[in-house]
Symmetry: C2
Subunit: 413 residues, 2 copies
């Protein structure tokens, strides 16, 4: 008889991370697995034996549908990277003791780079020590920076949120027209990779001009050139909207949000106050041009807006969760499920498994030839790549006008 399964969620939450959980649960039901465990707050919780029985909360297809519509990690998450096996055997022994005690044979971990490193280490240890457990990684990151997979679940929904909100912000910013131009700078997540910031370009269509400028962290940012472009735009436009990555750096690799004395001040408590990239650039624009500027930070809204989740993204997240469980049941280990795209229009995706050693700790950035030569926009190649990911909606279940979520507030049994 097969052993039990445990599933963990790690790193920053997304709008569809729970779709992967739903897929893994469904596959486990199909396989007839006796107990479906969840790590409460990822591997960090597991190390404290904080394990929940998922079927205390989720028992039906209806629950799975609600789970798919619930943003953020249902099981709770953590930011914890396992240390190397050598010299830290005690930690690994502890983990395997806990797994053995609960007769856990299948271990799924849903996350980004660090999570795939966790799968790598644990599967290596199992191999070295002849342990029965199988370890499979489920990709997830709004940053879209995992290698070997065409794209990552979570990215499409965040991109849909960004493109939709950008369209609404541009309409809002255009509404004042008689007075001086207004420059609105929108800050988007992605410290090292510009995938999320690039998605702002999708707002450009026949009914929207899109942002006037888009700056990704892959290209060094030149404040002087930026101001020159704003001045040129302001000659003919009343509304100027700029999308910037939080991770913009100058040619010396220094973060823009750490530039100059604007941000170097120390507050009354002696803490260094770091303004964001957009806040900093808005203050420079007003100083250098005398024009009105404002900034908007999408903050965590861009990763938790399940009410704007993309259908394709949600379905793919479900599928990689399902297929990860299936792969484990088939005896595979040390692998991550990947998504390939067979054709982009109409969109057809395919799934595969890759050795997690090829995935862990590698950050995939936006190719430089997908960024225009002057570094102020993304190319049509990017748009062709990304447009399929935001197609379709996941109709929310609502009560009294608000989306309904499923939570661990109350046990079912």
């Amino acid at each position: 008889m097969k052993g039990n399964i445990i599933i963990g969620q790690s790193g920053g939450p997304t709008a569809v991370i729970n779709s992967s959980l739903a897929g893994a649960i469904k596959a486990s039901w199909k396989e007839g697995i006796r107990r479906i465990y969840g790590m409460h707050y990822g591997i960090e919780g597991l190390l404290q034996e904080d394990i929940i029985d998922i079927e205390d909360y989720i028992t039906s297809s209806h629950d799975l549908s609600l789970l798919k519509r619930t943003p953020s990690s249902f099981l709770g998450t953590c930011r914890y990277k396992l240390p190397p096996i050598e010299g830290n055997e005690k930690i690994y022994e502890k983990i395997f003791d806990i797994l053995d005690k609960k007769n856990i044979e299948y271990f799924l971990y849903n996350g980004g780079n660090d999570s795939m490193d966790t799968i790598k280490q644990l599967s290596d240890y199992a191999l070295q020590h002849n342990k029965k457990q199988k370890f499979i990684g489920i990709p997830k990151t709004i940053d879209n920076d995992l290698p070997m997979t065409d794209h990552c679940p979570g990215y499409g929904s965040a991109a849909k949120y960004i493109a939709t909100s950008m369209k609404e912000i541009i309409r809002d910013n255009e509404s004042y027209g008689v007075s001086k131009p207004t420059i609105c700078i929108v800050e988007i997540m992605g410290r090292h990779a510009g995938w999320l910031t690039a998605s702002a370009a999708m707002s450009r269509d026949i009914d929207c001009n899109g942002p006037d400028l888009i700056y990704l962290p892959e290209v060094p940012f030149d404040v002087k050139d930026f101001i020159k472009r704003i001045k040129a735009l302001a000659k003919n436009k009343k509304s100027i909207v700029v999308a910037v990555s939080e991770g913009l750096q100058d040619k010396n690799g220094k973060f823009i949000c750490e530039q100059g004395t604007v941000n170097d001040h120390v507050d009354a408590f002696g803490h260094k106050q770091l303004a964001g990239t957009a806040a900093y650039l808005a203050s420079v624009v007003t100083h250098e041009t005398g024009l009105k500027s404002r900034y908007i930070e999408f903050s965590s809204l861009q990763r938790c807006a399940a009410h704007l989740a993309s259908r394709i993204d949600s379905d793919e997240a479900y599928n990689v969760g399902f297929l990860a469980a299936k792969a484990a049941f088939e005896g595979k280990s040390g692998m991550m499920v990947t998504i390939g795209v067979e054709q982009r229009e109409p969109y057809v995706e395919v799934y595969d498994l890759f050795d997690v050693h090829e995935v862990a700790n590698i950050e995939r950035k936006v190719p430089l030839n997908w960024i225009t030569n002057d570094g102020t926009y993304v190319s049509d190649e990017y748009l062709a790549y990304a447009r399929p990911f935001i197609i379709g909606s996941v109709q929310a279940y609502t009560a009294a006008g608000l989306p309904i979520h499923i939570t661990m507030n109350k046990k079912k049994r």
Copy 2:
């Protein structure tokens, strides 16, 4: 034969301001009005004779449906308050000359307090000078602070955006659980009235605990008491979420965002840098408790998120626009359309007209008995009042995964 109509939009945009425009257009079609003009950028545009022919862009029911789904002012807006008639007769003569030249008999203006003042002044002038023009005000403000009307179109959709996003932010903030508590402070618009901030309370339901604390500008804010409450909450909770109005003031009437030296620094360019209320409070929390804090500003998203517009709000906005035009056609002037609520459950609204002299320049605040005694939450009376406003959705028209808007980018004829 009846004269022509002109419609203007004023003040901050909302998600449903164009529904009112759609209602006014529909009523004009029904009445057989020959020309339907729009002020391009409100009264400020009118004074420059910047007038558009709305039927250059909107000619069908399909266009009206799209218009209802388009956020922000389709016609463009302004912040401009007409000076008193006495001593400024030239401005009034100019306006009436422009109106007479285009044979405009009906004048609708859609906005908040300042807009109702515009209607008051213009209708007074018309009466004094025996002019034929009729002036009717259409209420609009996300701030919900107009008197005589139970509530204002625009408020329901902003409230729905805030309650939905609050629910998603709370789920996001709850996802980390092993490490120290995280305090997330969310800043909501409303400089003088707390209606928008109060709407965060609607996120509380069986699947969400809602914000832990809600602070409205109607009650003086005490930073020490706030920190005491955060410390008490942090003993038992890993996730603490607080909703604050941007307009919080201390007992001396000084804005919290202007407190202390944290915000009093001058940047490299000699400009005073004002952090927001939430940013300031987050820095105080971290200093006083050593806990992790972050802040989120909904910024203009809360007024332009048409993708989350409330059905009831959109319908009411349409109706007040329609009824304003109808009232003008019936010869009424110097009035504002108001909404009354006959019963709240099931919800039945009624419409009326009020003398604009009773409306202009009065700001309606949240009643103090709708705020809990300790000033940290709103009461069930508020919830019973507001819950109907967020019911139902306006299904977006989408293409390639994004909502479609109607704009003035291209003339139809």
